[in-house]
């Protein structure tokens, strides 16, 4: 599903070039669940952003569903965001002016679905995430775990094939974190490809594969028990 070849990301200063990513090669198959780990500043988030088409690599090739997406224009990227990729953020990034219901609805509006269809789909998601009672509340009125649940609901509302999660449990208690990870695992089992960035060894192990990074380099890949169990 995803093939990264020789991806580099760097900034040029007056005298030297600072690398954030250096010759990264990575292949992700459809249906995989991958964790990216590494110390702060290793380039994990940048890698995730490049995969999510939020940032462009300085060099290298990126194929998404066999399409050379490093050549895409802004407008086409928007189509990918709409149809293929969902995001979960560490800080949830819910829109404060919108209710829970409206937040989840957002991607569906951009997909151009009719009100009736949207209502049905949002109702399903509210059901599934057990937040029907909270649908008219605003994000500030929810706990962190609940907010992240809404974040996930929103991310998968558009039925993306790839779900990107940047430290989805970073702001949460361990219990709430586990709840989120269980949800991701469940989504993966239903067939969604997931890539997450995390600092937490325990949560990393929910994935099939852990990719470790340091100083912009990919240096280790390991299968987890989860993977062997599959």
């Amino acid at each position: 599903m995803i093939t990264l070849k020789n991806i580099c990301k760097y900034f040029d200063n007056k005298y030297n070039r600072t690398f954030i990513l250096k010759n990264v090669d990575l292949t992700v198959a459809e249906g995989e669940f991958i964790s990216i780990m590494g110390p702060s500043g290793a380039g994990k988030s940048t890698l995730l952003n490049i995969i999510g088409l939020l940032e462009e690599p300085s060099e290298g090739e990126y194929y998404f569903l066999d399409q050379p997406v490093h050549k895409l224009k802004e407008k086409q990227k928007t189509d990918y965001h709409r149809d293929y990729i969902g995001f979960i953020f560490q800080a949830y990034h819910l829109i404060e002016e919108l209710t829970v219901y409206e937040n989840i609805e957002t991607p569906l509006v951009y997909k151009g679905l009719k009100t009736k269809e949207r209502q049905a789909m949002v109702a399903d998601l509210l059901d599934r995430f057990n937040i029907v009672a909270k649908k008219d509340l605003f994000p500030q009125q929810l706990s962190g775990g609940q907010q992240q649940m809404v974040g996930i609901a929103r991310a998968i509302a558009g039925k993306p094939r790839l779900l990107l999660a940047d430290e989805p449990t970073g702001n949460l208690h361990t219990d709430q974190g586990r709840m989120i990870m269980e949800m991701l695992k469940q989504l993966n089992e239903e067939g969604m490809t997931i890539i997450q960035v995390t600092h937490n060894e325990e949560f990393a192990k929910y994935a099939h594969r852990i990719v470790r990074m340091a100083d912009g380099l990919l240096f280790d890949e390991s299968k987890t028990k989860t993977a062997s169990a599959v």
Binding site: N49, L54, T78, D79, H81, R82, D83, H93, T106
Partner: protein, 794 residues
């Protein structure tokens, strides 16, 4: 729909300074609407007349072949008769109208009123499409007929039918009311007309329709359908050669649609008049204020971009296109503008009466006009273009990742372009402050000008009735007997005007000039100088006891300067063309200080006072300073009613009349200061928003500084100093602009104030004070914040 819901949530939470935006836009829109109404009022002037586009005045250009061309819309009856006889087939209507409003006493039985009106030939009411309440438009054919306006008819006859009734004019002529017309609306040329009478009645037995040396008429014509003003102007251009083959005077047509705003001529060419200039100034001010308001919207939106950025970033990550975001922001700005517009309409509705009072206008919101609503709608879209487009494009451009991670806020450029806009706002405001100050300084300057006589405590009455004839001395004696007056005099022209000019004077050693100098000549009773309060520089006053004084004159300083006589007293002034009651020569008896007779901004006019044996019509009564006016007035009224019963006691105080002269400039001053005030409010609101934004932005910096030992005062100075820098820059920019503009404005006046440096300094000071007060609240809040709190944000 979604936008609407979001918008009202924003209203509740005061999202992004929404109220500041609304108030700014409301002020901008209200001012623009107001000025729009003004412009409409000016442009619709005279459109009341159905034949608006085919009526013209015949005007004359004198001296076309040599030197300066003098243009006037006043012609002689001879000219009118000539055109009527020789060119009638070119017009579908032609009528002479007395070229000035005439005040007459109109009475019926016991009721008598001084009313203004026009004398005109019978065709004029039809040409002017007079709306008749009763009677017909062609009712002025008989010399003893008269039209009354609805209001006057009501005053005289109440609810009973006026047509067919008799009224008396000036207690002399019995006229039959042959028509009652609807009072003309205020924005028409002849709006003052409360009666219309036949021109023949005006000419009476002292003049006729073939006079060529008395310029006293308008000549109105109505073109035939399809004819053009230009071609017809060409046709009549040399018409006067039929009367005098050597004449240098040419005729042309001045269309009705140019009377109001284009009635000034310089060397034969049409130039904009003061009304048109005022209109231009107002349009410019209105446009600037609208821009100021839009700048606030733009500035507040873009300065709050961090606030929007996260939301935009999230939306973009979830597949929103740029277009969608642009549309969202444009919808939001449109809603803001719409609400601002509704509040502006309401505000206008409430304040229009007050505004009409200070502006002397009669503006109304045309609720029932579909054009008004169409133009308003178009206008709102234009405002949205001005205010909404830039933020929409600017904000929608934000890259989603940068927006989410907050990197966006680090751009220095964003701040400096906002600073620039604030500098622009303050430049405009300061320039307007300077403008208002100079206007008031000019008015004060003229008000403090020595008047040359004493207008206070001076009463004036116009005796336009035949039974006054020969009664001046009786009146004087009776009034003096009451003890409430100090002195009374009479003159043929009012002291507050410069009417009456003659140029046929010669004197010893007169320098030969191409044109003989003109003097303002006033015929007065011997008590004139004493009553008015003129101050003698040389010589002495007239005396009623000395009959020889009847062949003397008193001149003023300006006249003396013109005559260049080293010792004027006793010098002889001769007249080359004395009229029936003039003497061929006069001796100078005294010289008085200059008096302000015409505009207080014009130089004093050279004046000659001639003692008159006749009873002149303009009475001036100096009330005894020991008696209050309220005590004196009834006694004066008693005497006048006894001696001249036909005269209404329509008195006026000369100081009121004198103050009238300042009305136009005071009106401009009030308008400009009103708009200046609004401009300042808008600019301050913008600054307030920006100060909040900057204080917020520097929260962390302030925290760090305070942890490192900065005192609160130092932080206040740091934050406020920044703003003061901008205001000072604005001052530097505003001063030359304002200097130039006001220099131009002052060129309209001969007696003018100086552009003192302190005015500019004061304007800068005012702006700085306002700016300081505006930003200090925010700065103080930022500076007093607990540093621990502000640093925790990271």
């Amino acid at each position: 729909m979604k936008t609407l819901v979001l918008f009202f949530r924003g209203l509740i939470n005061n999202k992004g300074f929404i109220y500041v935006k609304i108030i700014s836009l409301m002020l901008g829109i209200a001012v623009t609407l107001l000025i729009g109404l003004w412009v409409h009022d000016e442009l619709s002037f005279n459109r009341y007349h159905t034949n608006y586009s085919s009526i013209a005045k015949v005007m004359r250009n004198e001296n076309v072949n040599h030197g300066d061309i003098y243009t006037s819309d006043i012609v002689t009856t001879g000219m009118g008769t000539l055109l009527k006889d020789q060119y009638e087939n070119h017009f579908s209507g032609i009528a002479l109208v007395r070229g000035r409003v005439e005040e007459r006493i109109i009475s019926s039985g016991e009721k008598k009123h001084m009313e203004k009106g026009y004398f005109m030939q019978p065709d004029a009411p039809r040409m002017l499409s007079l709306e008749m309440v009763s009677g017909t438009q062609n009712g002025l054919n008989d010399i003893n007929s008269i039209f009354l306006s609805e209001s006057v008819a009501h005053k005289l006859f109440g609810d009973s039918e006026a047509v067919g009734q008799m009224v008396k004019m000036d207690a002399t002529y019995d006229l039959m009311v042959t028509g009652v017309f609807k009072d003309l609306p205020a924005n028409t040329e002849f709006a003052e007309a409360k009666y219309l009478a036949p021109l023949d009645r005006y000419l009476g037995d002292w003049s006729n329709l073939n006079v060529w040396n008395n310029f006293n008429m308008y000549l109105l014509v109505q073109l035939k359908p399809g004819a053009s003003f230009q071609e017809t102007s060409q046709t009549i251009r040399h018409a006067l050669r039929q009367h005098d083959p050597k004449t240098n005077t040419e005729l042309f047509l001045h269309p009705m649609n140019r009377w109001h705003l284009h009635s000034s001529f310089l060397n034969g060419a049409e130039v904009s008049n003061s009304r048109f200039e005022m209109l231009q100034i107002l349009i410019a001010i209105g446009f600037l204020i609208l821009i100021l308001a839009c700048i606030n919207y733009v500035n507040l939106c873009t300065s709050r971009s961090d606030f929007y950025a996260r939301e935009i970033g999230i939306r973009k990550t979830f597949g929103s296109t740029r277009l969608w975001i642009i549309r969202h922001f444009l919808n939001e700005s449109m809603l803001t503008i719409l609400i601002a517009y509704l509040i502006a309409l309401a505000t206008l509705m409430l304040s229009l009466g007050w505004f009409n009072q200070i502006s002397g206008k009669n503006l109304q919101i045309p609720w029932n006009s579909w054009q008004f609503w169409t133009i308003s709608t178009a206008f709102l879209f234009i405002v949205n273009l001005l205010a909404g487009i830039y933020p929409a494009f600017y904000l929608s451009k934000l890259k989603p990742l940068k927006a989410i991670s907050g990197q966006h806020s680090k751009t220095r450029l964003g701040i400096s372009s906002r600073e620039l806009l604030v500098v622009f706002q303050f430049t405009i405001s300061i320039a307007l402050i300077i403008g208002s100050l100079i206007i008031y300084k000019q008015i004060l300057h003229a008000k403090n000008r020595p008047v040359g006589y004493t207008p206070q405590g001076l009463l004036t009455l116009y005796m336009n009735t035949p039974d006054y004839k020969g009664k001046f001395l009786t009146l004087r004696d009776e009034l003096k007997n009451t003890g409430v007056i100090y002195e009374i005099t009479a003159s043929n022209y009012p002291v507050t005007t410069t009417k009456g000019w003659n140029s046929d004077f010669t004197w010893k050693n007169q320098k030969v000039k191409e044109e003989s100098p003109s003097f303002n000549v006033v015929r007065v009773s011997p008590e004139y100088c004493k009553t008015i309060g003129l101050q003698f520089l040389q010589g002495r006053d007239f005396s009623r006891e000395m009959k020889s004084d009847l062949s003397t004159i008193i001149i003023n300083e300006s006249a003396l300067k013109m005559m260049e006589l080293p010792s004027p007293i006793g010098e002889t002034i001769n007249r080359t063309n004395p009229s029936y009651n003039d003497k061929p020569g006069y001796t100078i008896l005294g010289v008085v200080k200059d008096m302000v007779k015409g505009s207080p901004y014009d130089p004093a006019v050279p004046t000659i006072l001639i003692p008159s044996e006749e009873d002149q019509k303009h009475l001036y009564i100096r009330i005894n300073p020991a008696v209050s006016a309220s005590q004196a007035l009834p006694k004066i009224e008693n005497v006048i009613n006894k001696i001249v019963p036909a005269a209404p006691f329509d008195y006026a105080f000369v100081d009121d009349q004198y103050n009238e002269k300042f009305k136009e400039e005071e009106r401009i001053g009030k308008l400009v200061s009103l708009f200046t005030f609004i401009a300042i409010v808008i600019s301050s609101l913008g600054l307030f928003g920006l100060a909040a934004f900057i204080a917020e932005k520097r929260t962390k910096e302030i925290g760090v500084r305070r942890v490192n030992g900065a005192r609160m005062s130092e932080i206040l100075v740091m934050l406020n100093g920044n703003f003061l820098k901008w205001v000072i820059l604005s001052c530097l920019l505003a001063c030359p602009i304002a200097w130039y503009a006001m220099h131009k404005w002052l060129e309209n006046f001969a007696y003018k104030t100086s552009l003192s440096w302190w005015v500019f300094a004061a304007a800068g000071g005012i702006a700085m004070l306002i700016a300081l007060v505006t930003v200090s609240w925010q700065s103080w809040r930022a500076a007093t914040r607990n540093p621990v709190e502000s640093l925790r944000y990271e």
